[in-house]
Structures are given as C-alpha cells and as structure tokens.
Symmetry: C2
Subunit: 343 residues, 2 copies
C-alpha cells in the first residue's frame, strides 16, 4: 500500500459580516497539483495572517495588487515555502521562496510569482514579516511618508504589532522620542522593556487617551504612524504640532465595518496646524525594496532592530490565527507554521 | 467754525452664535488718534472681508498670526490705506500701504506693521486680494501643497471666490484640466466664460455631486483644492485618483459650527489611493511672498490671470459685506471701499 501525501486548502466559504468567524472558512482535502513546464511544487512552511486581508473578503473590494477573495476559492496570503519539485531551471528542490500563495499545504506556482529567500539575512520567516510587507511598510511609512527627523516626538498606534513594532524601532534608531499605543499590559511592557520605547500606553485601561498622549508628549506630536484609526486616531490627532505628519498605514479599528466610519472631520485642524495626513501602500516603493531589506537586515544583525513573532502551529489553525488578530492578542507578527523545513 | 474730521470704528459687540448678524458688530464714533514717534496716520481705502475671520470671533480661537478678536475692540482685517500724516522717515504722506488694520476710518499704526503697496504691479486693491493673502494662498496651495503637474485633473471648490478663482487660473496656466464648483449659475458662467475653466458645477442645483464630479472628471481627480469642506468635500473625495493631493485651504462650510463637524473618516480611502490631505496657512511661505507677488503680477499683466472684485461701498457696510460671505453672493474678492484715494 502506497502512502498518499495529503493536500488541503482553506477556502472562503462565506463572506463575513463584521468580524470573521470559523464559518467564514472551510478546509478541504484536495489532490496534489500537476506541474506544468516552468512550475514549481512548493510546500507551505510559514503562513502570514494580516488584518488588511479582511478587506479582500468583501465583495468587489481589492487591494493595490488587485487581490480579491472569491467564494469557494482558497484564501491567499504572504507565505514562506520550500520547493519540493521544480520544472524551472531557476529553482532547485530545497530552495526557500516566498510570495502570495494559497492557503494550501502544497501548490504549484509559476516561477515568476515566486521570490527566493536569502537565509543569510535573517531567519527565513522574516521574509514575510520584518523583511516582508510589514517591515517594509514600517520602513517606507516612517522614512518616506512621515519623513521622521531626529528629535521628533513620534506616536505609533498598534505599536506591538508587526508593522508598529518595526516602525517604532526605526524611529528610535533615528533619534526620535517614541510613544507606543497597544492593548494590554503585556504589550506595553514589551514596548518599554523589550523595544526600549519612551512610553507604552495601554488604551484599554486608559480612560482619557487624549490626556494620556498629552502627558506622554508634553512637547506635542510631530509624527503619528497610525495602524488603528477610530477614536485612537482622534486622541492622538488632538495633540499634533504644527507641521505634523500623519502616515496612515492601517485602520484595524474599521476593517470589519461595512460602512465608512464616521468621525470628526480633520480638515480644520489640518489647516490650523499646517499638517499632513497621507495614506500609502508599500508597493509604491517596490523599486526600493531590495535596498530597504538590506538596511532592515543590517539593523537586525547589529541588534538595533528586533522582531517578534507570535507563532501558531498547524495548517488547520490558520483561520483561528487570523480571527485572533481582531481581538488584539498577538505581539509582533502573527504567523502560522504549517510544516517543518526539509533539510 | 472748523470742520472736524469724523473718525469711526467697528467693534465686536457680541460673539456670534453660528452665522454673524448685525448685532455682532457696533459702529462707534471715536477721536482721531495721536501720533507717536515712528507712527503713521492712515486712512482706510479698501477693507477686505474674509470667511476665515469668522474663526477669530470665537473665544480663545486664534489664527496662525495669533489674531483673536476681543469684545468691544475693533475687528481687524487686511486693508489698503493711504498715509495722511507720517512721523516715520520711511513713509511719506500719500504713500499707499497695506497691513492688518482695524476697521476704522483713520488709525495710527507703527511703521513696522505696514507694508508699502507698489502701484506699478496692479491696481492697489489687489494688495489684499490677488497679490495678498488670497492670491498667495492660491499660489502656494497649488504649487507647493498640491504640487500640480501639467495634465492633472484639478477640482477647486469655492472656485468663484477670491482664493478659488486665482487657484483655478493658476492650474489652467500650468496645463491642468480644471473643474470649478460654485453656488450659482452666474458663478459657473463666470468660471467657464470669464476664467476659461473646463467646467463649472453649480452645487446648489446639482442633486448628486459625486456623480457630477465623476462625469466632469472621467479620468478621476488628481488634485483637489478645497475651500469649502463638508459634503462637497465628500463628493470630490469619492472621485480621487491614486496619488491624489488634497490641499485644504479653507472650510467655509464649517466656520460657523461650534463643534467639529462629523463626516466619513477619510483614512481608508487615503490608504487605498495612496493619497495625501494637507492643510496649510500662507504664512508658512512668507520667505517667498515677494517672488510670488511678482509672478502673479506678471501673469496678470500678460492677461493670463484675471482678478474679480465684488466692491461694496461705505464704511458702515463692512459688517453687511462680511455677513454676505456666508450666503455666498460674492464673485471674486469681497472688498469694501471706505474712502477715495487722495491724489
């Protein structure tokens, strides 16, 4: 009797209303894929789950790269994988790769949709965290959009998350005073003790966030790197200085709302403060990704930048890990390890 | 019997609730001022009334220059005046000057608070319109904040006003497609026929502004120069392109609201479109005022730029002219002529 290698995928079973639930997803047994010329068979190792994916689950919505999830089709996300069979001269069995792949144990991909991971830079999982979209978002958001300068007072919301923790550290590296906002004592301790931020504020136990920001930033806020939005935005915004720069990176507070959230219009304050709010997606800076990855890896290897992962084990637990993002439990990058690397 | 020269001032009699009324103001007979060393006695000729002044009538509010109106003290605004007596070596009787002066027929000012008007550039009233704060706001807002490029589709709200009409023409001069929004058929005719804009839209008779903007801008909106805010903002914002730049210059829709207006939060769209909203005050660019005035005057003298004034006659009608700004009757700069120039 021959042992059949098992393959599985996770599809979008139902479009979520608000926060996704287990019913949003369905795990299916599927056949091992055939390999066409130029294709690779890859085995998923580390699957990244990100709050921004929530938007692709709504009908007709799509991200900068044109991604949109279709019903009964597999979810895709940034994944680190290993080549287990190759019909491409550019990839060998055993190579580590990353890309936006389906939530499948095994899949065939065309060589052009795949990028090699350089294991000499940092641990391979960082290809989709510190050296991937989250780290690059932090890098370009801080340096290009917010244009941080030494001496700036910088506030980061979602500071214990994957983007926020990297963004906050980049600001520290550049000589800024950095205040991080997060949602638990464990997280604010991580911000202050592990990342060395000047102050961590737990918004869940702080009654008046506007006053708390004012107290933590007596000279006002020069840069706000916003991953959260909603009322946290308002509290930081009430404290901005003249010529403040607000980099809008994510809005996890709103991802599950069907309608555009209402809030105070910011225009008057933008005028009074000659301030700027700018949204961005990291792909605007694709030409500069390689240089940015090298810089991030350099800071990491010089112990100036650390990364933190919350690692869930098991392919079947990918939905749970994704859903957990919205209750704010993860510190650093939420990842799912679905297989061991073959050595 | 000697004829006494009459002097008068207009003070803030009551802080307005919402739109200012005649009761907001009071005209008082006052004595002619004494002149200290270095002072000038000036006679007001053209008084500018501007929507942004509304904010200074609220308690504790102040503009970038620290202006705030106090109860029973005269209102101040940008004014063109003539020197009728001088204790300063730098100014001669008959000189034309401008500055932020009190609403008074005559007043003494210190020489350092006064700037000479160069009558060779353009008609002297333009020192507080096309070549003053409104024109400079249009100039720096379009060129520095919105960073217009040839081929951009540009939408200007409040386009028939003093700032908007100049802003729209500057965008035309730079090879942009320009759509102006205004509040009457007379104004949209002015935009299309006099200023040569590509399209004027009357928001008061247009049921669905979002659709009207989409129709007028089939390639989307690259630059939005906003003087109005509120729901007009939302309608234009729904049509922005990737990398759109939104210069927030004024918010006349909100000036009479005590509380910050509520509206849809713009952050999601800013991210999706990698777009930027930036507020500004013209004094950020004070170092470049002289060069900008020369450029504006050059365009004017080359017939590339025209200015329009709505001129009210009579000192006692300054309050009426100011109040009228909020019912949107003026085309171009609303000015009040309070005296004739002595030749």
């Amino acid at each position: 009797m021959q042992t059949q290698i098992q393959n599985q995928q996770i599809v979008l079973a139902n479009r979520p209303n608000g926060v996704p639930t287990q019913d949003t997803f369905e795990i299916k047994d599927i056949a091992m894929p055939e390999l066409a010329d130029g294709d690779l068979l890859i085995k998923s190792i580390y699957v990244s789950v990100d709050p921004g994916m929530r938007g692709f689950m709504d009908k007709g919505d799509s991200d900068a790269a044109g991604t949109k999830y279709e019903l009964n089709k597999p979810i895709t996300s940034r994944t680190v994988a290993q080549v287990v069979a190759s019909n491409s001269a550019d990839f060998a069995v055993g190579d580590i790769v990353h890309g936006r792949f389906a939530w499948q144990r095994f899949q065939s991909v065309t060589a052009k949709d795949v990028e090699k991971v350089d294991p000499s830079l940092a641990p391979i999982s960082t290809a989709v965290s510190m050296l991937g979209v989250p780290g690059l978002s932090a890098y370009f958001g801080m340096l290009k959009v917010a244009n941080i300068q030494a001496g700036d007072t910088v506030v980061v919301s979602g500071a214990a998350g994957s983007v926020g923790s990297t963004a906050a550290q980049i600001a520290k590296i550049h000589g800024c005073k950095v205040v991080g906002i997060a949602g638990s004592e464990k997280k604010t301790a991580y911000l202050e003790d592990d990342l060395g931020l000047d102050k961590g504020i737990n918004y869940k136990t702080t009654e008046n966030m506007t006053a708390a920001i004012a107290e933590a930033c007596p000279d006002g806020v020069d840069v706000f790197f916003d991953n959260v939005g909603g009322e946290l935005f308002d509290a930081v915004f009430a404290n901005i200085n003249n010529h403040a720069r607000i980099a809008i990176c994510g809005q996890i507070a709103d991802y599950n709302n069907a309608e555009a959230a209402q809030g105070p219009r910011p225009m008057h304050t933008l005028i009074k403060k000659s301030a700027r709010m700018e949204g961005f997606v990291v792909f605007n800076y694709a030409d500069e990704f390689d240089a940015a990855k090298k810089q991030l890896a350099k800071w990491y290897n010089e112990d100036q930048l650390e990364y933190t992962e919350t690692l869930t084990q098991g392919f079947e637990n990918i939905p749970t890990a994704f859903i957990g993002l919205f209750s704010g439990e993860n510190i650093g990058k939420q990842m799912v390890q679905v297989a061991e690397l073959d050595s």
